[in-house]
């Protein structure tokens, strides 16, 4: 038996914090090596057409240049089809194949890469490449009339074109009270601090990739297919990721560009995207337009939910989101209809961005719920409670756990919701209009197959290894805690290594599945290690261990307990004469997803302050209460929620790609003009976790947190803006002009 040291649940500071602040943590672009060369890409400047000529002579003869690779001279790459594209990829169409043909599919598509001795030489030579195009008609406008149903791949992946229970349209018609409105949400970019970067080095037909990735194992798989080599020949190393928010889930074309360039010049090559390139060379949250119509009885009981979404996708690949998931199961309602359509555009492919689909769907649904509350003259919180979903009505399953009622209560209390006067424009302070708004937060919890290895070293410390990534939420820290608690060791005696395909397989570090998946694998590996150790102790002829053989072993205080006290791990290893002992552990989803539906929940309340003349909105307070199951580390979990709130401020008020339809290009591709919240925009953020453990969902009792943190925030802010001003802005972000004009 294992008597836990209480490591889980402690606010342990980031174990990788000191390395990060001292610059010892190395990110993809920082793995310098002898003979490293630098690559700079040339990107298309038209959205659709064909390359008619590509002039590379000047670039080739520029100082330091070793190669200029274009579709004309690039080696043909096999791009072997994968049996099934991983969930992180678009589920329809085909990925972009770099330098394999002259077709231009979007503005910002790689058309050439220059490899040179120094970065400056590469960038300079890239400027010298001249590309001529024949323009072709394309689609650069978001035109609803072109909306089409998702193809089968996306249907199967849970992005259905149409769903209905009951008869929502009829119920809507006959509802006592109803609302029907359209919402627009801008294309958003991840803008993680670390730009995407890859260092590729070949040794014969073996490839090492230092890459920014949220999924090293899949990175390896994808590149193996692109180059038609065995995945065992590829080693992906990615110990640290400087933020990603979903942008590094999948393997983007520039990773292939780096590997290709390295193969051509026969030297290691480093390729780092510039900030502006990050707007077209990776993905983004798609521009989405939605209609929500809600019907209710006079007492607020929902009788109809209709939610329709149009999302943008690329022409070559079909990316779809779970935008309409929340419509189907957030509230109890007998008549629900959803409709999802995709609009193909000449753009780089969109991809998941924190709380993908759900944040978008919740923005519309939760704004609509607020509009319904206004129409009903009902408190918005009351309306939510009235329609509380005790089951997942879409899957027709009970929740594995749901403490949303407690979230509403705790957050409302901490916020002071009862002080809200319902009339819009009724609250004032220092010449500003004050508004209070709220929204529900939800994000489905999933888990995936994962494995980990736990090693006990001779000095009695433990080393845990798994190929999973830590893009910043604190995975190093939380895994340390799980291992420490399982092994009965203090956290200081546990070390974690992540982000390397030489380590045991781990799933994607995204979708908030890591704790439930990798965490349980780490737990299993540590348990397996203890079991193995117990077996060895039992079999050991060493007389000093004789006293520890009786009964079930009791692991505590950093060792094995016996009648005469505890024998430490170090003494055990010494006694056994071992340098190290390793055990692997696996975890996989069981039957729970067939018997239960799992999700993390929350309630978000926001206060806004609106300048009545300028239309500027500031957010003095956000209060959230969350049900994330068992909280492994309240400090890092809080950071996730706080980060989600900050991103929610961006989504509600600031962030948007300024798309030019003539060029098919986001024009504000830099951090000066793509405006995200800064410290001065953020004031009080209050996070509470309500008690709960979800051991039906997984043995650790955890649910996910990262995505949940963004869900609902922007709707709460928008609803507060309505309450402050009496104006319902349905196009996000709520820029000053949308309050001043319109």
């Amino acid at each position: 038996m294992n008597v836990p040291l209480k490591a889980i649940g402690q606010p342990v500071s980031r174990v990788d914090g000191p390395d990060k602040v001292q610059g010892h943590a190395r990110y993809a672009a920082e793995f310098d090596q002898p003979d490293l060369m630098h690559a700079a890409m040339v990107l298309s400047t038209i959205p659709s057409g064909t390359i008619t000529a590509i002039e590379t002579k000047a670039a080739r003869s520029a100082p330091g240049v070793h190669a200029v690779i274009t579709h004309e001279n690039a080696p043909r790459l096999p791009y072997a089809p994968m049996a099934k594209r991983p969930q992180v990829d678009a589920q329809g169409g085909d990925q972009l194949k770099v330098f394999q043909d002259p077709t231009i599919r979007f503005n910002g598509q790689p058309v050439a890469v220059v490899v040179a001795e120094t970065l400056e030489q590469a960038v300079h030579a890239a400027d010298l490449v001249r590309v001529s195009y024949e323009h072709a008609d394309g689609h650069t406008t978001f035109d609803r009339a072109r909306g089409r149903a998702p193809s089968r791949g996306n249907e199967k992946a849970g992005r259905p074109a149409d769903t209905e229970i009951g008869d929502a349209d009829a119920a809507l018609k006959s509802a006592a009270v109803s609302i029907d409105a359209n919402y627009v949400q801008a294309r958003e970019h991840h803008n993680a601090i670390e730009p995407h970067a890859t260092i590729a080095a070949w040794d014969g037909d073996h490839l090492t990739l230092h890459d920014k990735t949220q999924w090293p194992d899949n990175d390896r798989d994808e590149i193996a297919h692109v180059f038609g080599i065995k995945k065992e020949n590829i080693h992906v190393v990615s110990p640290f990721v400087g933020g990603a928010f979903g942008s590094a889930l999948r393997t983007w074309p520039h990773v292939t560009v780096a590997a290709l360039a390295a193969r051509v010049v026969q030297r290691p090559v480093r390729l780092e995207l510039t900030r502006r390139q990050c707007y077209t060379s990776i993905g983004f949250r798609p521009h989405t337009e939605q209609r929500v119509a809600l019907g209710a009885a006079a007492d607020g009981t929902l009788t109809a939910i209709v939610q329709e979404a149009f999302g943008q996708t690329a022409t070559y690949e079909e990316y779809a989101e779970t935008t309409l998931d929340p419509a189907r199961n957030t509230y109890a309602c007998p008549n629900v209809r959803t409709r999802y359509r995709l609009i193909e555009m000449n753009t780089n492919s969109p991809c998941p961005m924190r709380s993908p689909g759900v944040a978008t769907g919740m923005l519309a649904l939760e704004t609509a719920m607020d509009e319904l509350a206004v129409a009903l003259r009902m408190d918005p919180l009351e309306l939510r409670l009235k329609n509380y979903a005790d089951r997942d009505q879409h899957k027709n399953l009970p929740w594995s756990s749901k403490e949303l009622r407690a979230c509403y209560r705790v957050a409302a209390e901490r916020f002071g919701w009862s002080e809200r006067t319902p009339e819009p424009r009724s609250m004032r302070r220092n010449g500003h209009l004050i508004g209070y708004g709220m929204a529900t937060a939800v994000y489905p919890s999933h888990r995936a197959k994962a494995s980990a290895a736990a090693t006990l070293l001779r000095d009695g410390t433990a080393l845990i290894r798994t190929a999973g990534s830590d893009m910043g939420p604190g995975t190093y820290t939380s895994m340390t805690q799980v291992a420490a608690e399982t092994l009965g060791l203090p956290v200081e005696r546990v070390r974690i290594e992540l982000g390397d395909t030489d380590m045991p397989y781990a799933p994607v570090h995204g979708g908030s599945i890591t704790m439930a998946s990798v965490g349980t694998a780490v737990q299993a590996a540590c348990q397996a290690l203890l079991d193995d150790l117990a077996g060895v102790v039992k079999a050991s002829p060493d007389p000093r261990l004789a006293a520890f053989k009786a009964g079930t072993p009791e692991w505590r205080d950093g060792g094995l307990a016996g009648p005469g006290g505890v024998i430490s791990f170090a003494e055990l290893m010494e006694g056994l004469g071992f340098d190290r002992i390793t055990a692997e552990g696996q975890s996989a989803p069981g039957n729970e997803s067939k018997t239960h539906s799992s999700a993390a929940f929350g309630a978000v309340f926001a206060e806004v302050e609106v300048d009545p003349d300028f239309g500027t909105v500031r957010v003095p307070r956000i209060v959230g209460a969350y049900d994330i199951g068992r909280v492994v580390n309240p400090k890092t979990a809080r950071s996730q929620c706080v980060g989600g709130m900050v991103q929610g401020v961006g989504m509600a008020l600031l962030e948007q790609a300024e798309w030019d339809e003539r060029f098919g290009r986001p024009m504000n591709g830099n951090l000066a003009e793509y405006v995200v919240p800064v410290c001065a925009d953020i004031r009080s953020l209050d996070v509470t976790f309500v008690p709960g453990e979800d051991t039906i969902f997984n043995p650790l009792g955890v649910k996910g947190v990262a995505e949940l943190g963004l869900s609902g925030v922007s709707a709460a802010i928008g609803n507060a803006v309505y309450h402050a001003t009496g104006r319902r802005v349905r196009e996000f972000p709520i820029l000053p002009e949308r309050l001043l004009m319109g």
């Binding site: 424009r425 209009l433 300028f614 500031r618 003009e673 000053p736």
Partner: protein
């Protein structure tokens, strides 16, 4: 990025010589704008002359005015006690500009000559008359929410982004310039040129002209002043609209008025109509509104920036009220 050479000079004469004689030679001071433009390939000088070694980096107070060296850092000027006390419009314009990191690096001379934030100017994948003369102006029918509503031409509607120049106009400031032909002074109000058909020519400076100092006459320090800016986020962003107001009073009667606007014009924009309306009248809430209404005289929106017209009026009104100590009253 085009390869360039780099020279560091120790005195203004050397700087002027180097720049006026060579071809494609530019000054670099704090580098906070220059580096962005180099990295994005917007500018491609053949040589950069680093003027950080020439001195001219302090604020000196004389009986008849204050001299701010062109190399003084935004942070130092913003914190200077005399600037804060006598010329709050200048201190406030600097204090809320950019970020602490940028303010520690950026010089006041460089600030005046920073280039527009127009999205097309900064993205070399698109045409832009200012960057490549004759290539066209996609902003006029494109994404122009940050562009100008005053002073635009059919060839360019780029907004002048800076704050300091706007405040300096309200303080009657002038510049000391050393050039190949010797020294001269240039009123800050006259520094920038309207785009017309030559939007690539932004200032009245010639190659080799080096700004050595800003001179603010003491008279401006006798007026009450304020700088107000409106932006999407709380800080670290250029103004959507700003107003610099400097008023001399006798009681509540306005004797002298300087009002200028930022973020809305192709150059820092002096609002003479507003000034004329104010002079000789008692400043109260009604007058502030009346004057604010005149702030956008001649303004024209291009779609995305239409909102700047009402925003400008309201910004000027609010700034006037602040200077006059008038509460804006409860929102309707």
């Amino acid at each position: 990025m085009v390869p360039f050479s780099y020279t560091s000079v120790a005195d203004p004469q050397a700087a002027v010589r180097r720049t006026s004689e060579g071809h494609g030679v530019e000054f670099i001071a704090g580098g906070t704008d220059m580096l962005q433009l180099l990295q994005e390939g917007v500018r491609a000088p053949l040589e950069l002359v680093d003027i950080n070694g020439i001195g001219f980096d302090d604020v000196s107070v004389a009986v008849d005015g204050v001299r701010i060296g062109a190399m003084a850092r935004l942070a130092d000027v913003a914190d200077h006690p005399v600037i804060r006390e006598r010329f709050p419009v200048v201190a406030e314009a600097l204090h809320e500009s950019a970020s602490p990191q940028v303010r520690n690096m950026a010089t006041v001379g460089g600030n005046l000559l920073q280039r527009t934030r127009c999205l097309y100017f900064r993205d070399v994948a698109t045409p832009c008359n200012k960057r490549v003369p004759g290539s066209g102006c996609p902003a006029i029918e494109g994404q122009n929410r940050i562009n100008a509503v005053l002073g635009g031409s059919p060839d360019c509607i780029a907004a002048y982004p800076g704050d300091l120049a706007v405040a300096l106009i309200a303080a009657d400031a002038e510049l000391m310039v050393v050039g190949p032909k010797g020294e001269r002074t240039v009123l800050v109000e006259k520094l920038h040129r309207q785009p017309g058909s030559t939007p690539h020519v932004e200032a009245v400076l010639e190659p080799g002209d080096l700004i050595t100092a800003i001179w603010i006459p003491i008279a401006a320090g006798g007026r009450l002043s304020h700088y107000l800016r409106v932006r999407d986020r709380a800080t670290f962003e250029w103004a959507l609209a700003s107003a610099a107001v400097s008023l001399g009073f006798e009681g509540t009667r306005v004797l002298e008025a300087r009002v200028a606007a930022g973020g809305v014009g192709t150059t820092p924009w002096r609002l003479r109509a507003v000034e004329e309306l104010l002079v000789g009248r008692d400043l109260d809430r009604a007058l502030a509104h009346e004057a604010g209404e005149r702030a956008a005289d001649g303004a024209r929106g291009y779609g995305g920036n239409d909102f700047k017209i009402p925003l400008l009026k309201k910004t000027v009104t609010r700034a006037l009220m602040r200077v006059g100590g008038i509460s804006p009253g409860e929102p309707a």
